[in-house]
């Protein structure tokens, strides 16, 4: 009991740290990229939320921002980059194209990147205003602090499962 309380408190502390230190990997494919540049640049400045370092290597980042239309041909690349991200990892679908395919209903656009990888926060808009993006980042911060990111939840489920198996084995 005592141990569990301490570890969960420790987890809270770590999550508090995580929410202010996103290392973003920008997966930018289309026009929404302009708006990403705008939020990243000093005028709107995601540095205020601790997410200012775009890392162009997935192994050094934990937040993937999928910005723009993803085509079926790009699907394997998207999946591969996601798999390489350091855990725990989060994904933001930036703009309607990444969220749902947007107005593309055709042979080549993926109808939402959640067909390929799990998504934590969807930001609507074509393209979204920088304020909307900041709102999305704050929503994600809330999720991270509460440990409700998809990847965090999975890690917790796996931990509980391991724990249960150990108990049964004992």
């Amino acid at each position: 009991m005592g141990l569990e309380v301490t570890t969960s408190k420790l987890e809270d502390l770590v999550n508090w740290g995580r929410k202010f230190s996103f290392f973003t990997y920008p997966f930018i494919t289309a026009c929404c990229g302009m708006e990403f540049m705008s939020v990243a640049a000093p005028k709107y400045d995601i540095a205020r939320f601790g997410a200012e370092f775009p890392r162009f290597s997935p192994r050094q980042s934990d937040l993937m921002m999928v910005v723009g239309t993803v085509t079926e041909k790009q699907g394997p690349a998207l999946k591969r980059v996601y798999d390489q991200l350091a855990e725990p990892k989060w994904v933001i679908a930036f703009g309607v194209c990444a969220s749902t395919g947007g107005f593309y209903q055709n042979y080549t656009a993926v109808p939402g990147i959640d067909q390929i990888i799990p998504v934590d926060v969807y930001i609507p808009g074509c393209p979204p205003r920088p304020e909307q993006v900041l709102d999305g980042i704050m929503l994600l911060q809330k999720k991270v602090a509460e440990g409700r990111g998809i990847n965090q939840l999975r890690a917790r489920r796996e931990k509980l499962e391991r724990h249960r198996l150990e108990q049964e084995g004992a």
Partner: protein, 165 residues
């Protein structure tokens, strides 16, 4: 503007041309696939024609546009940078015989455009050095710019497994 080109073509090939037209400064000539190379070579090599610039090459799917006539039409647009005239060549093709000789040996710039036309419409260019899909992937089935291709038919390469989350 380019009516001299049409006149020259008519006097040289006469009845071998299926049709010619001249609307709003757009001169068009319709030729059969079998005659294409002959006409194109003349247009490129004759000093009075000197078509040195391949502008575009694409295809039209006339499904539903008219009851009569062949369904597909390959369109080739040429321009002469030195003599400043242009011409459009149309090659009608039946659906069950979507083949025509490649003009990429005459204008290297048509190489990728012919691949694109193959990719999107399934038109085969005989004699093309490397006729593969150019935009789409090999797993893709069908030709998406044909009018009877369903607009939401997709050929996914990866999909997520929802069960393990």
């Amino acid at each position: 503007m380019s009516q001299a080109v049409l006149a020259a073509l008519k006097s040289k090939f006469g009845d071998a041309l299926l049709a010619t037209s001249s609307n709003y400064g757009d001169e068009c000539v319709t030729v059969a696939a079998a005659k294409l190379i002959e006409v194109a070579t003349f247009l490129r090599d004759d000093p009075k024609m000197a078509f040195d610039s391949p502008v575009f090459l694409s295809c039209i799917d006339r499904l539903g546009l008219s009851e009569s006539g062949p369904r597909f039409e390959v369109v080739i647009q040429l321009r002469s940078l030195s003599l400043r005239h242009r011409i459009r060549i149309k090659v009608p093709l039946e659906e069950n015989k979507l083949k025509l000789p490649s003009v990429s040996a005459l204008w290297a710039g048509f190489n990728w455009l012919e691949r694109e036309t193959y990719d999107m419409y399934g038109v085969e260019f005989e004699g093309h050095p490397d006729l593969r899909r150019i935009y789409l992937y090999d797993e893709f089935k069908g030709f998406p710019l044909r009018k009877d291709y369903p607009k939401d038919r997709r050929h996914p390469l990866v999909r997520r497994e929802w069960s393990d989350e």
